[in-house]
Subunit: 345 residues, 2 copies
DNA sequence: TACAATACCGAAACCGGTTTCGTTTATTTT
DNA sequence: AAAATAAACGAAACCGGTTTCGGTATTGTA
């Protein structure tokens, strides 16, 4: 069947020769053009099936002037990643893209180039039709670049320029209002918050949701209860130590993500706090591993798969109709009570 | 610069026109052919730079008859993934591939097709030059198919046919000999083992390493101490309950991976066991999250990044020289003591 | 100064498809 | 039966590059 290495492949010209037709005719027959007789179309299809003909993607895409490929440039990961979001997200979007005949091209930034350089090369070499952008910053150079080029993309997360581009996001503000309210109802008064870097728009919104409820409930806001973090476990540890050495110290801590929460819990334990009796902790992300902690981590969760599918749908719509006005969608997170929070003592 | 949407791109014909040369000459000039005068080559390069010419990847690849793309078909993930291996691995291999001008194409299996169908379509549509295969089975249909087609690939993990294909693997047998020996030295006699499904070759090897030491040390092997699992947390829970209801019950449990270990710890806690005082637990994978457990999970760890780079190097070598004899590499895991094991009481 | 060798570039085929535009044959229409 | 229309396919251009081959102009050799 095949000799040394590559399988012996059938080209459209082979098919044409076999059928006694020209390759143009064969092409149109296979693509269902009406100007080819039904009889011929069936004959072509049948012989194509028998010979195992499959069109070469590269050639088809070149001729049609499209790539049918979407790019995903992986944002630099923390050295100790604890979140499975990226792999689940990739799984989701590649499945959704494949259904529509699109491919997913994954790049990562090597140390020598900037992230924007990476996008630039993908755009200019025409490897992709559009991008999906993860972990948006308030002022995001990737977004700036693609908007300048007029190149299609959808972000997961909002930016300062969200009115100008398509985006999908989880309503982190509402999520943290919910979580804060929950703690308030449990009777907590001193509720701490460990955020992410200010450059992340999402982290700002989560902080905003927390503040909403705190100000609404206790009228004044206590800024010493707000600690910056960096969305990693180590950041959480540091922040927790700052919070827990205060007097009076918080009886609950909200964390901008689960990794932070893990750090907070670790530090709290080391300081002798029992959870949730002496300290309630709530995270954000819904990592599966949180369910295996003792006590299991209460967190805000959302469907990664649904997010991925929605984003792909938005991007494909954009590619099909470039003229469309900006589209966006805000989904909501669910408070998943698992046991790391309770009434204060 | 650009009008509505796509950036205005420069083709090689535009360059040729601008330079007063033919596109063939321009192409050879840019690719450093010696039969173009040095003066001309420099002039072409300069003008190309000024006009911002970047060759269209699709066209170049079609002309050269290669795809410069490597495929990765994501194996179906557990519904509650706890391991960041996949995203770290993707990050690693995409970076390594990009350096050499290769792209990474990620597909995932939708429910309607079998995994092999997915490979078949990628092969026949000529979208990739080779594959990287994850989570090998002892009898692996993906391997069978690609060997039959003579299509290049490298596996992460061994298979029954490992003599016929390139592979990279972690020496799980040695890893579990090390872990078992460690427990023996601590004084444990009844050491349990929770494995993975028998279809996974790696799980078998880990079991083998455990048995090696058990038979060598205690002469007889106690099969009731060996519990099957499925490499998930739930599997670990079930297995742990089976082990811990025995009398006498094990004082230590080795787990085929960290997810299993999480389940084992959860079940043990629910049964009232204190860790590591009453039960030592050791996992495998080195997930970062294990460091945040209480106590932190002792585990066998290895460098995902190094694995990815090595596998890419192997695959690229294979693509360059198809005639090469089978290449393989066995790397070793390191026992990372973090506190979930100790001497028996 | 005539002739061969060399350097340098143009012309054209090619990769494997798609699509436009004619042309031929078959079918209607009058 | 002649003319108009429709049906079905062939021919060729095209997508944007690469590569082979051949022809001139220039240089080197005798």
């Amino acid at each position: 069947m095949n000799e040394r290495g590559k399988p012996s492949e059938v080209r459209i010209s082979d098919l044409a020769l076999e059928l006694g037709l020209t390759k143009g005719t064969v092409s149109r027959a296979l693509n269902g053009y009406e100007d080819i007789s039904k009889k011929t179309r069936q004959r072509v299809t049948e012989v194509a099936r028998i010979l195992g003909y499959v069109p070469t993607t590269q050639a088809r895409r070149l001729a049609m002037g499209l790539t049918e490929t979407v790019g995903l440039v992986l944002p630099p990961m923390p050295s100790q990643p604890v979140n499975t979001f990226v792999s689940e997200f990739i799984d989701s979007i590649s499945a959704a893209l494949n259904i529509h005949g699109y491919d997913l091209l994954v790049h990562s930034v090597n140390s020598e180039e900037s992230e924007v350089d990476q996008y630039q090369r993908l755009v200019h070499s025409r490897k992709v039709d559009g991008f999906i952008i993860l972990r948006t910053l308030e002022v995001d150079p990737r977004v700036d670049y693609l908007l300048k080029e007029g190149f299609p993309f959808v972000t997961h997360g909002r930016t300062a320029r969200m009115a100008e581009h398509d985006w999908f996001d989880i309503d982190g503000e509402k999520a943290f209002r919910d979580a804060t309210s929950h703690l308030v109802k449990l009777g907590h008064q001193r509720i701490g918050f460990v955020g992410g870097g200010n450059e992340f728009f999402s982290a700002q919104l989560r902080l905003k949701g927390y503040r909403n409820i705190m100000e609404e409930t206790y009228d004044n806001k206590i800024s010493s209860l707000e600690q910056p973090g960096n969305l990693t476990g180590l950041g959480g540890e540091t922040a927790a130590r700052n919070l827990l050495k205060q007097n009076p110290c918080p009886t609950a801590i909200l964390c901008a993500n689960d990794a932070t929460a893990l750090g907070v819990i670790k530090a709290a334990r080391e300081l002798g706090f029992r959870i949730p009796q002496q300290l309630s902790v709530i995270g954000y992300d819904g990592i599966a591993l949180g369910g295996y902690l003792d006590p299991p981590l209460t967190t805000l969760t959302f469907s990664i798969d649904a997010s991925g599918r929605e984003i792909v749908a938005m991007l494909l719509r954009r590619l099909k109709e470039p003229g469309l006005p900006v589209i966006s969608k805000l989904a909501s997170a669910t408070l998943k009570l698992r046991g790391s929070e309770g009434p204060p003592t």
